[in-house]
């Protein structure tokens, strides 16, 4: 009879029937390429820049694309390529740090509230609810007007406004996983809360958390760009991509590359990150059998 059982139960059920496809592989590759390019620009940009950021190099403002100035010049006649190469560091760096911090903080709080006693869960959840009720732009405006604009403050503002959302999403997933039997088994084995949170629960919610991180990165780029557009973000002569758009708004009616290119840059950055993360999480879920 044993032989028969082995024979009748295929060792590897490899039918992945009706699985949701996350788009073709090349989309993910394009996303990954965009991410890598922007990361490289953020790291090496300032050294690659042909001209100093604040230097007026041309007499022509809103100059069009030429061999000398590949991205044209801005409203003061500064080299646009240099400004983007330097500005990318602010946008990518700030948003990346803020998104990772917000997602990390939200997920940690979520795991903590799920494995801790009920009263602590209540305290954390209500606190997050209080934060979530403050509109992020308003919060940012108040923070900047109260403390003045600085890089640290911008990061703090972004983290503060995006942590509660990350927490809500992570907590709802963690609660579901916590009720599953393998977590119960770990509890009856006498595992510590930290182990249950990090080894049993976290790996199973990482996919949605990563996707959420990608989304939040996009939102933070937009928030920071919006702040800079209002003149409350990164201060001159430095400029992030958002400030570049604002500075050169006068070139809009001339169709100057000085305004089109930073806008395009923001677009490619957020889209690239989302494509890449989507692909990453669909690969992970395929490996674990998909949920």
């Amino acid at each position: 009879m044993n032989n028969l059982i082995v024979k009748s139960t295929p060792a590897t059920p490899d039918l992945s029937v009706g699985k949701v496809s996350h788009g073709p592989a090349w989309l993910g590759l394009i996303g990954a390429a965009m991410c890598v390019i922007w990361l490289l620009v953020a790291i090496f940009g300032p050294w690659l820049a042909p001209h100093p950021v604040g230097e007026v190099v041309s007499d022509n403002v809103f100059d069009s694309i030429s061999a000398v100035y590949p991205f044209g010049t801005d409203y003061l006649g500064r080299d646009m390529l240099s400004r983007i190469l330097v500005g990318a560091r602010f946008t990518v760096g700030l948003a990346l740090v803020a998104a990772v911090l917000a997602s990390g903080l939200g997920t940690s709080c979520a795991l903590l509230s799920v494995v801790s006693p009920k009263w602590l869960d209540e305290v954390i959840s209500r606190l997050m609810d209080a934060f979530i009720s403050i509109p992020s732009k308003m919060l940012a405006l108040i923070m900047v007007s109260a403390f003045g604009s600085s890089v640290t403050l911008l990061i703090c503002t972004a983290v503060l406004s995006f942590t509660p959302g990350a927490f809500r999403i992570a907590r709802s997933m963690a609660v579901n996983i916590e009720a599953l039997e393998y977590v119960q088994v770990a509890r009856t084995r006498g595992e510590r809360r930290l182990y249950i949170a990090c080894v049993e629960i976290l790996p199973n919610m990482l996919n949605p958390v990563l996707t959420d991180l990608g989304l939040r990165f996009g939102f933070i780029v937009l928030l920071l760009s919006g702040m800079s557009f209002l003149g409350l973000g990164v201060q001159p002569p430095d400029a992030d991509l958002g400030s570049l758009v604002r500075e050169n708004i006068g070139g809009l009616n001339q169709g100057a590359p000085a305004i089109v290119i930073p806008a395009l840059a923001i677009g490619t950055l957020t889209i690239g990150v989302n494509l890449f993360i989507d692909r990453l999480s669909s690969r992970r879920s395929r490996r674990s059998g998909g949920h």
Partner: protein, 613 residues
């Protein structure tokens, strides 16, 4: 006889990642009008895929590749989607496994029953509703005139399944496909549903295809049986000859697995006299606690239980009887409201934080559903190494060696250690689940319905493994199941629970012979037996229950009162029953004594003994 249904060389393919995989490999059968054909096989045998192909339907990712499916004058594979829509729910209809998931909770039952027939324009609403009431009556639903006005959550699971049958039959279909319609039900409910199905099928001359993994159920329902495995027909014949003389080896293994009593005997000399786990006056439940610390929903009431070293205790009862809650309390996942636990002479804390590491190690729990009991992100070796590192501090080669030993112990090849749970079959997962519990070298293993989610053959192998492990390692089991034959096959002592009360406790032998508690009697005789005609002859739950007056306001009245066939007016509804010992050594919670119980149970018993002999 004319052939109503003809399936010829049916092939269904699934589109996997590595191209197309054939999941139904050229199946042919035919069925005359008014007959019932059973498709039987374990999960993955393609039985549901074939059943759906009869409706011209393939699940997402699957494709009906070739063959003929002829239902009456319709060639189901040649018709367009629109034409098929006109047939489904009209000339062919489908009864799914889970009625609860098949009904819309926001609509009244009667509206859902007539909806399909209305769409197909089979009559006026009034006429169809009258017909539905007629069907409700035929299906032995209580209060057939008004049950249609209720919402799905207001009727029980077994009743809902029968309402679904009414929905399928209202269009007088040529063919009804029943896909495991009673698998999710308790045995005591299953018997009513089966009886209702059988009567309706016979009286209305319906042609039916019955999909099931349970040979005993199929034996009651079907005229023809098709045994499937891996998408191929292994054997195909009329019911009686197949049960008497199965031709194929696989059918024989199915038959053997359906009769666990004859294949497994519990080891005799393992149990010692020293008590390992003692439960005293245990009361527990869920929900908010009141002033006296009692939970608002009480699930367990005043449970006493002793597990001796090396002993296997079986706990049986239907869903909602509190048997899983009992395991959760012992495991420390639920803190009891009253009563105490003693483990090997030491008091056992109610909550996890009050227990010592050694107590954690010595009590291990194996859950019912191996799919959710194994972390999908961890490999088998990670799953097994955690308790080894934690309790014994094993590392490196010693750790690998021990993992290998554990896999040997549960009869899995050693190279499975690097696999992820989703790369294992159901039975293999359950073995890993068991190996993880064994890794701790426990004294007590709590088995919560460990074989319920498995196919009969695989389940029987797991039972055999549990028996061998007990013989080799001398562990004790608290074995929880809804299936009395499984429990009888493995355990020394058996406890029967009903709505949170322990209503009978006795040795395995005491459960082989009357007298029993009236509920135990019902439970034992509701388990389908592997012979034709059992359903018609078994005497349970047929007759009217004796009438009783209003219940007196006494808190501890018998909980089985509403369903008890031997209740006594003036006694059972006024006085709380007391525990008494009956012949055979069982302790029961009932007003009746040995002589009275024997009077109602004796003749049934002779018949059962004949069946098990």
């Amino acid at each position: 006889m004319s052939e109503l249904i003809r399936v010829e060389n049916l092939r269904v393919v699934a589109c996997g990642e590595r191209g197309e995989v054939e999941i139904v490999k050229g199946v042919s059968f035919s069925l005359a009008k008014g007959e019932v054909l059973a498709l039987i096989g374990e999960s993955g045998s393609g039985k549901t895929t074939i059943a759906l192909a009869l409706l011209g339907y393939a699940r997402r990712g699957c494709r009906l590749a070739s063959g003929v499916v002829q239902i009456g004058e319709h060639d189901m594979l040649a018709l367009s989607e629109n034409e098929l829509q006109g047939l489904r729910g009209n000339r062919v209809s489908y009864i799914a496994q889970s009625a609860a998931a098949a009904f819309n909770p926001a609509k009244k039952l009667i509206d859902q029953v007539v909806e399909g027939a209305l769409i197909h324009g089979l009559g006026s609403r009034a006429a169809l509703e009258a017909k539905a009431v007629e069907l409700f009556r035929d299906l032995a639903l209580p209060d057939p005139d008004r049950i249609g006005q209720r919402y799905p959550h207001q009727v029980s699971g077994g009743q809902l399944q029968r309402v679904m049958a009414a929905m399928a039959l209202i269009s007088d279909p040529l063919l009804v496909v029943l896909d495991e319609p009673t698998t999710a039900l308790d045995v005591t409910t299953q018997i009513d549903v089966l009886r209702a199905f059988k009567r309706v099928v016979r009286e209305r001359g319906a042609t039916a295809v019955y999909v099931s993994h349970d040979l005993a159920v199929v034996a009651q329902m079907a005229d023809q049986i098709v045994v499937l495995n891996g998408g191929e027909i292994f054997e195909q014949s009329a019911t009686a000859p197949l049960l008497k003389g199965p031709a194929h080896e696989y059918t024989r293994s199915l038959l053997a697995a359906a009769r666990p009593d004859t294949t497994i005997r519990p080891p005799c000399d393992v149990a010692q006299d020293t008590p390992l786990l003692t439960i005293q006056g245990l009361t527990a439940g869920y929900g908010n606690k009141n002033m006296h610390g009692m939970p608002s929903i009480r699930v367990l009431e005043d449970i006493d239980l002793t597990v001796r070293r090396g002993q296997a205790i079986g706990v049986i009862g239907e869903s909602g009887s509190g048997k899983s809650t009992l395991a959760r309390v012992v495991a420390g996942l639920l803190t009891p409201a009253l009563g105490g636990l003693t483990f090997d002479g030491q008091p056992l804390g109610g909550s996890l934080s009050e227990r010592t590491a050694e107590q954690f190690r010595r009590i291990q729990m194996v859950f019912q559903n191996a799919d959710t009991a194994l972390n999908p992100m961890h490999s088998v070796s990670t799953i097994l190494s955690r308790p080894l590192k934690m309790y014994f501090g094993l590392k490196g080669a010693a750790l690998r060696e021990r993992i290998g030993e554990l896999l040997d112990l549960v009869r899995l090849p050693r190279d499975m250690a690097e696999r992820r749970p989703n790369e294992l079959s159901g039975g293999q997962k359950q073995r890993v689940n068991l190996a993880r519990a064994l890794a701790a070298k426990p004294d007590l293993i709590l088995c919560d319905e460990v074989t319920s989610a498995l196919d009969t053959v695989v389940g029987a192998a797991i039972l055999e493994l549990l028996r061998d492990l007990r013989q080799e390692l001398g562990v004790s089991y608290l074995f929880i199941s809804h299936d009395i034959s499984t429990v009888r096959a493995l355990c020394d002592d058996i406890v029967v629970m009903y709505s949170g009360h322990k209503i009978q406790a006795g040795t395995r032998q005491a459960f082989a012979q009357a007298p029993f508690h009236p509920y135990t009697d019902l439970l034992i005789h509701s388990v389908p037996e592997l012979r034709q005609g059992w359903l018609e002859n078994c005497g349970t739950t047929c007759g009217e229950l004796p009438p009783i007056g209003a219940r007196a306001n006494v808190p501890e009245l018998c909980t089985f009162l509403n369903r008890c066939p031997v209740r006594v007016d003036g006694l059972c509804n006024h006085t709380a029953p007391s525990r008494r010992v009956i012949a055979g050594g069982s302790e029961i919670l009932c007003h009746h004594d040995t002589a009275e119980l024997l009077k109602t149970q004796q003749d049934l018993n002779i018949m059962t003994q004949g069946a098990y002999a």
